[in-house]
Amino acid sequence: MRHIAIAAIAIALLLIGLIVSLVEANANQPWGQTLLDNFMLARSLPFTLGLGVALGYARANWPRRAVERRTGAARRFDASTIWLHWIGTVAVLLGLATGAWQYLKGLLDVSSPIAMPLVYRVHYIAASLLMFVIALTITEWWLRGSGGLGIPKGGWIRSLRGLAHELPRPLGGTLAYMLGLDLRRAPPPTEKFTWYERSISYPTWVIAIGLIALTGILKAMRYIYPIPGDVLYWVSAIHVGAMVLLAIKVLDHLRYVLAPSRWPLMGAMISGWVSARYAAARHPGWHVTDEPTPDAASAATPVRPVGGRPA
């Protein structure tokens, strides 16, 4: 019951914060729309983060339902992971599009066919959404003791060996040579998430989103708490750099999930499920013990045999 009360209080506080900001914005202020929106964003951020923390707490303490079973299928993502992923996707894509638009307008020194206050407003809404998702996800995973896709303590060498086997041979061989990994040993079986997802994809998402969020908060706060010009210069430069990094991450993520051999994983981010046959063939280290596994004769050939070409 307490988790529901905390979530309700957080929602009420967010609404009160927004109403107070709106009332003040509607008073006789000399500011333009963009500056007003900036103030709204800066003032609402603590409430947005608080709402994310409260809902993360509520999610973590929500009574867990019995694990749903489906014959011939394995659960890859929880329902909450799916909707948080898609809210985060919308926030990142909107933020990228509007951020690139602002940057290009300054770079090209042209007038925008779309009203810039609208572009900034959408950018701020996307930023709020992203902050909410970040706060909720971190709180829920932390309280549930879930490491997300992170590498467990002491598991880095195993992960890097798996990664070296998954990468195309020239890249994997170079990585193994540089780190002194023995590629003649059998690769560790791929678990629920591939070694690439765990050792490259997920950590770089954390870095890119962390950078853009921290620098974005500082930029949003600059009219409320004065920030020295030199610091603001670097914060802005890092924010633009993080935008490019995030665009690269989205492209790399698309490259990874659009590969025909990984198409079922794309479906799993909508339904949450992947077939047990696929899991057994491509993720042999993922113990789907309650699911019927295909027999050896009918199992699909692994997409990425040791030393083979990447899928």
Partner: protein, 72 residues
């Protein structure tokens, strides 16, 4: 579904390639040269890298469209 996703990915790729090209082109103008190495290198490197990262995605989209459906 595959074709819809592939179409959306192609639109996204076109947008990224255009942004990458504009970043690269503008980074080489006199205006950016005078702004210093850091402010010039961001659009320059960013533009090149964006275009480079579009290529493998384009390859996977083409493979996705032409690949035969396999049982999931």
């Amino acid at each position: 579904m595959k074709f819809l996703v592939a179409l959306l990915a192609l639109i996204f790729l076109a947008g990224n390639a255009l942004v990458g090209y504009l970043f690269f082109k503008e980074a080489l103008t006199d205006k950016m040269v005078h702004k210093g190495f850091i402010l010039q290198s961001l659009p320059l490197l960013g533009g090149v890298v964006l275009i480079l990262f579009c290529l493998p995605v384009l390859w996977q989209v083409l493979r996705l469209i032409t690949a035969r459906s396999e049982p999931a």
